[in-house]
Amino acid sequence: MPAVTTTAHARTAGTIEVVAVTAKAKLDAQKIRADFPFLEERFNGKQFAYLDSAVTSQKPRQMLDAMRAFYEHSYGNVHRGVYQLSERATAAFEGAREKVRGFVNAPSHREIVFTRQATEAINLVAYAWGLNNLGPGDLVVVTELEHHSNFVPWQYIAKRTGAGFRMVPLNDNGELELDALDPFAHEGNVKVVATNLVSNALGTINPVDRIAQWAHEHGAIMVCDAAQAAPHIPLDVQALGCDFLAFSAHKMCGPSGVGVLWGKAEILEAMEPFNLGGHMIRKVRFEETTWGELPHKFEAGTSPIAEAVGLAAAIDYLNAIGLDAIAAHEHELTAYALEQLSELGGVTLYGPPPERRAGIISFNVGDIHPHDVAQVLDMDGVAIRAGHHCCQPLMAKLGVAATNRASFYLYSIPEEVDRLVEGVKRAKQLFA
């Protein structure tokens, strides 16, 4: 496969540094693969070609070891006991929070709320902020590219509060039509603009900074779903300019069961709590209960403690390799796969050109149903997703019931792209 110098680096670095940065950014996928136990599995004598990392990533040994060590040596409930184990657990848990703060470049650890996953983080904002700040005459704006997790909560809360609900359309490249934003401002008070940073279905990288700027000019808050971005591109909430950002650990080499909501402290402080119960309180009396400080106000009940420790280990793992290097590696694979698939003929590819997308490729093979394509690929141990990818509004826009989706991560290699292409060829022959 051809060597690719990422244009992102060429643009940000000076001409002289380009070579150095590019050389440094190269990752050794074969070496990385040794960290992932799932690759020791054999199916018909072969390794799995796991091309569905967009739905959830596989796990490196380092992360698994960190969780095991935590359970074995430092486990207790957090913020509770006066004893050693609880203090160790609290230190690990709060250390994870600090790690996450650095990962998204948040000003304060008080702004980092652990949730179950990105979906719960977005629901937290939709309920705890939306129910008290939305009403008739207000508008909630989402995009045609949203995952249901950043679509359905807003649709529901808009309906419940009497606010209007609008959708930024896509162009034929699978990119947002930002010109559609201005007219919304004449149709009501835009109070929320919610979009993803990277589309899980098409891989489109959205200009969240520009959307956030527009939202703020119109007095709205900007909610960014970074579930698909966090595993692949460096996050900086201050540069993005959003008010809330949500992501899940399980897509970025971390465990399932923990996600993150980052929110601006002043907005979080003004909000009502979401879940109620233990730990999130300051004082409980029969007459009234008052809420704890940030971030505890939003962390009712026992937190996903070991999962947060696992997330911190995943962040260490990704940082050691470098998100820039990961993004560059995925970009190479995506460009290679797009080229190979388009050469096959009869394959419809959706989404923007490789330089403006993350490592995700949605496609259809003639009129063969995606389930049949995915099934044929599965026979050779190649795992891709077939379905609507929790993006039914997008599928309606594309005029299809479903697509095939292949997605890449740091452990993906060109040979797996070749197996994908072979499988697509076989599906074409079989159903011709």
Binding site: H369, P370, H371, D372, Q375, V376, M379, D380, A386, G387, H388, A401, A402, L430, F431
Partner: protein
Amino acid sequence: MGEFDQLYREVILDHYKNPRGHGAIENADAHAEGQNPLCGDEVSIYVSFGDDGDTIDDVKFEGRGCAISQAATSMLTEMVKGRKATEIAELPKEELLEEIGIPLTPVRLKCAILGLGVLKVALHRAKGTPLPEEWSSLASELEFDADD
């Protein structure tokens, strides 16, 4: 590849590429549509009865979706023609699955029995034949559309 042959064995591909009983019946005695929202498989089934009002004289289907759902519905039309509506209403899904004859994961099982579910709903509407428990739960899952 061995498994290939198993799953997409010749008879499945043949029914998929050359579906039997494909089309609609005008003024059908029974009709229903169903879809599997998970993957977008769609099937419409039309039935006409013989003079006794019970024998399935003709059955046709229209639809789109994966090979399993379309081939299974095609096989179903061959299987039920000439049999009594009351009998088909009670037809265990295993009889169809045996005919299909391939190992199916839970996800693909829904594809395979979509047509049978739609047929049972059509008969239920036209003849008042009972919908067994498993089909009523399937009815909600597979979003059977009302005929009228």
